[in-house]
Point group: C2
Chain length 245, copies 2
DNA sequence: ACGTCAAGTGTATGTCATACACTGCATGTA
DNA sequence: TACATGCAGTGTATGACATACACTTGACGT
């Protein structure tokens, strides 16, 4: 294997696999990635610069390049470091729908703990070990649905993409306070939208489609992925039925 | 209206609305945006810098700031400039499903003509005039489905997000030649994935879930949004049925 | 003729990734 | 013990970038 990995991937699949025995002094890949993740957790992706990573570790900027080929590689490693699959997902689940919901709940939590993940300039299909682990768990849930493997893969891709979009939107709307920004958006829309130009949108706004009831709990005010997920899962259920029948 | 627009939005809703009479010499908002879009079309988002925009127009970098508050504003304007809604979508469509498919086909074309759109660091809900116009057309298609306005909005958001993810993936996989990179990905996966760590994924790979038949037409090899869309639309259909029943 | 203002310029600053040449140390070999 | 080798970390330099700020210039209204 690995004769010709795309640039930056070799680190993921080779060097990080070794559990690096006991912690030695000095720089190391995992230390770099750790520091970078801390920076991103605290200040978002913009806070991650080679200089700041090095500073936090007490080394010079250029020392990082002994361990890493480029910043892009650091970002890939950050993604993989953060995307570990909790053991919970190894337990089999009889009902595929419940299984996928569990999978989404877990990933949703991860995406909110490290919301910068949704802003990574990494667009391709899953490729890091932990990304593939997530994919694997989702495929496992679909094992006995009777779908073709290709359809299973399509379903997993669909759901993973949806979750990522939803998480991005969710963190954008309200990093912490939630609700409030949704209300702000609603007000903004109400002000901007002209009936003649956007009749259908105007109708939706006037019907309160973008409002939240003022007495909603915080849970209800927070952007929720379940509406979209339920639609998708209904669609998957239809596909499964169709395969069976 | 517009007493307190978020930063950068005032330009979209005010200054650009005026059709600026006849073309005068000198810089102008639309000229800047035009140049920026050309740069992005040719070289991707990375090719867009204030310096290069100005250079292309024969002005100095700083002259742009007479017309624009920040680069972020340029990006917003680029998005809006490119996201015009074709008149085709104004024609009513009796069947909501066909209507949404037409909507997606149209938007998909736009996203591929300007693939940098999928990489814009703009995550929020639709907010520019043309984004809202797209939203409006999609809501119009759903008018007589019996869904609540809130559900309609949710469906539109779901589909728009899906299309954006799919377009990003599609352009990432194969900007032009397509197919080839999918094959490369498939091969890569086959090499990397270990049965013990990723049993379900291994099964999918071995079943050819990530391959394309060697005799597939180019159309078949190109990443296709229709699988995911069909699932989503099936889910929406279920929701509509449920509302009706 | 004069004041005002808008458009465009020029220069400077700070941040960034990263190339490249260097140093000092530890380790293995003759 | 002497020496070579190579790795880890350093320092300096470059070029791209966004943008602050002070400036010029020319048109236009009074």
């Amino acid at each position: 294997m690995n004769e010709k990995l795309p640039p930056g991937l070799d680190l993921l699949w080779e060097r990080l696999d070794a559990p690096t025995s006991e912690p030695k002094p000095g720089l190391s890949l995992s230390r770099i990635v750790h520091a970078a993740v801390e920076l991103a957790d605290a200040g978002g992706l913009d806070a991650v610069s080679m200089g700041r990573i090095a500073e936090r570790l007490g080394f010079t900027t250029m020392s990082l390049y002994r361990h890493v080929k480029s910043k892009h590689e650091v970002l890939l490693l950050m993604l993989d470091a953060v995307a570990t699959v909790p053991a919970e997902l190894d337990e089999p689940c009889a009902d595929w729908r419940l299984g996928l919901q569990r999978w989404c709940r877990t990933q949703w939590a991860m995406l909110h703990t490290h919301s910068w993940v949704t802003h990574l300039p990494i667009a391709g299909p899953p490729i890091t070990p932990n990304q593939l682990a997530w994919t694997d768990r989702a495929l496992a849930v679909l094992r006995d649905t009777g779908l073709t493997e290709r359809d299973k893969a399509g379903v997993v891709l669909l759901i993973a993409n949806y979750l990522l979009s939803a998480a991005r939107l969710s963190t954008e709307l309200g990093p912490a306070a939630s609700g409030e920004s949704v209300a702000a958006y609603s007000t903004l829309l109400g002000d901007l939208v002209d009936v003649r130009r956007f009749p259908a949108l105007r109708t939706a706004i006037d019907a309160g489609a973008f409002d939240y009831p003022p007495d909603a709990t915080e849970q209800e005010r927070r952007f929720d992925y379940s509406f979209g997920l339920d639609r998708i899962l209904d669609g998957v259920a239809a596909l499964i039925r169709q395969h069976a029948g």
